[in-house]
């Protein structure tokens, strides 16, 4: 069973200034011989409470939309679910293969050819070399880049780059798909094709978690929603109910 369970998760970000970032200040400030005018260094950490006591459970079949203002903790929550930030307090259990479509051009090598990038990005997404190779044909067909795939990425136009990145990122079938805002690609004709491909990917995932400011998108994609405010989970339930509450508050 695919699921995501969060139990009382707190995420705090320490904010460091030049002084607390410095080993020199840390060492000198602690010693009795340290320059006093510097003051005690290191122990006055400023913490930003990004998430506070989040308890939620996402089950097989859930399409969860995250709503909330900027800075409410949506992206952080997505990163916790992806496994990027490990909670300092509380626990999280994720059952299922997770893939996150946040930055689709991440890890692309501008010096490498299109084909090389298909493999390297595949490895990063967790595929084996064999599995990456198997996806080449699908990506060739989708991107319509033809001979360009033999050229280094630096020769690509911005549109071509996005097309390739999008094709690679959407060539996998994760059980849990995590997205920060909807991703799209290219000109009008291509955008339709991209949407169709993305929808197929979303449909095949057991769980979808998407953070978005676009209520309409969430209404289309999701059956559930969670409202975040200042790092706290305010409400979670049917998408319509939560969206109405969110919209009425703004």
């Amino acid at each position: 069973m695919t699921s995501i369970e969060l139990n009382n998760v707190d995420i705090d970000f320490p904010i460091y200034d030049a002084r607390t970032r410095s080993l020199k200040h840390r060492v000198l400030g602690l010693g009795p011989l340290g320059p006093q005018r510097v003051g005690p260094a290191g122990h006055h950490r400023v913490l930003v409470h990004a998430l506070r006591g989040i308890t939620m459970s996402v089950r097989n079949g859930d399409r969860l939309g995250l709503v909330g203002r900027n800075g409410a903790g949506k992206t952080t929550l997505l990163r916790v679910m992806t496994g990027i930030y490990e909670p300092a307090v509380g626990s999280i259990q994720v059952n299922g293969r997770v893939a996150s479509l946040t930055n689709i051009t991440m890890g692309m090598d501008m010096e490498g050819t299109g084909y090389e990038n298909i493999v390297i990005r595949g490895l990063m997404l967790g595929l084996t070399r064999r599995q990456s190779m198997d996806r080449i044909e699908d990506i060739e067909n989708f991107t319509e880049l033809g001979e360009y795939l033999n050229l280094p990425l630096r020769t690509y136009s911005a549109g071509m780059l996005v097309r390739l990145a999008f094709a690679i990122s959407t060539s996998i079938n994760p059980e849990i798909l995590i997205m920060d805002e909807m991703i799209g690609a290219g000109d009008k004709a291509f955008a339709e094709k991209a949407t169709a491909r993305l929808q197929k990917m979303m449909a095949s995932a057991n769980i979808l978690v998407v953070a978005s400011h676009a209520s309409e998108t969430l209404r289309q994609l999701c059956n559930k929603a969670a409202l975040l405010r200042q790092g706290q989970l305010i409400a979670m339930g049917p998408v319509e109910e939560i969206l109405q509450r969110y919209e009425s508050e703004n």
Binding site: G83, I84, Y85, V89, R97, M106, I120, M124, G126, I172
Partner: protein
């Protein structure tokens, strides 16, 4: 995508362990798991390291040859000047210098870049849950590949001046492997510390510069006698250099060198693993 950075097993095991021991620092199990996962990602490590090296080629017209030519020029000019200055026999001095400089370059690349292994990988670490052990390994492999470019020069110099015994070459390769193994803990430990304390990389690079002069790279150990020589023999860099270099000239490294190398390896890994277990999960917060 059965085997993934956030593969089924990886993610499940990692996160469910976190459930059993919620938010407890110093979890050695998770640290070990991370390293095992990193080993399983060896292909990615190789690709990333090659990608780094290729980026260096690009900045020059001569491509891969540039790395080799520049080291040859460096050895040639230093060899002539210092050989004359110290009144040394080039037959002895040049091979000593060639091996010393290239091996030292590998040491200092590994250590200096090791400090940056996580900082430089910020864009990855904030996007995907890849095992953290990948990044020190990438740095070590990158230095080894760069070193491999210098081997061409070494082969030429050694062939002309003092052909090494076969057993010596093998022992020397073992020495390099032992250093590489140490490079991993250095990257792990210093990479984490540098992510937290950003003034560490420049401090380390200054220390490396001082260490360069305290290590018999451009001078011959035989030139220094007495108490100072005993003291300098304790320098771990000298010991690591000795286990790589001495066998090439048909000499056995001293017991002292071997003991210090083994001690550094054990203590270093012990410390790095303890710190990794404690702070592994915090690295992304520091970036």
């Amino acid at each position: 995508m059965q085997r993934a950075g956030f593969s089924v097993a990886a993610h499940e095991a990692r996160l469910s362990e976190a459930v059993l021991i919620p938010a407890r620092p110093g979890n050695l199990g998770l640290a070990r798991h991370d390293l095992v996962e990193a080993v399983r990602h060896w292909r990615l490590i190789v690709l990333l390291a090659w990608q780094d090296v290729r980026q260096r080629y690009r900045r020059s017209m001569l491509g891969p040859l540039w790395l080799t030519v520049s080291v040859a020029v460096q050895i040639g000019s230093l060899g002539l000047v210092y050989g004359e200055l110290f009144h040394l026999d080039l037959k002895v001095y040049l091979p000593h210098l060639a091996v010393g400089l290239t091996v030292w370059a590998m040491f200092s690349n590994t250590i200096n870049d090791g400090c940056l292994c996580f900082i430089a990988a910020e864009s990855f670490l904030k996007q995907v849950a890849l095992p953290k052990g990948i990044f020190p390994a990438r740095v070590v492999l990158r230095s080894l590949i760069t070193f491999a470019h210098d081997i061409v020069v070494l082969v030429i110099v050694l062939a002309i001046y003092s052909p090494p015994p076969v057993l010596g070459v093998l022992l020397s390769l073992l020495g390099i492997a032992i250093f590489a193994f140490n490079g991993l803990w250095i990257g792990l430990l210093f990479g984490m510390a540098s992510a937290r304390f950003r003034d560490l990389p420049p401090i380390v690079s200054s220390v490396m510069q001082v260490a360069f002069f305290l290590t018999p790279v451009i001078w011959l150990p035989s030139a220094i006698q007495g108490r100072l020589a005993t003291l300098l023999a304790l320098n771990p860099f000298a010991c690591f250099l000795s286990i790589v270099r001495d066998p090439l000239f048909g000499e056995a490294p001293t017991m002292l060198s071997w003991s210090i190398v083994i001690l550094v390896t054990i203590l270093g890994w012990g410390l790095a693993l303890t710190m990794f277990a404690r702070f592994r999960g915090r690295v992304t917060y520091w970036l």
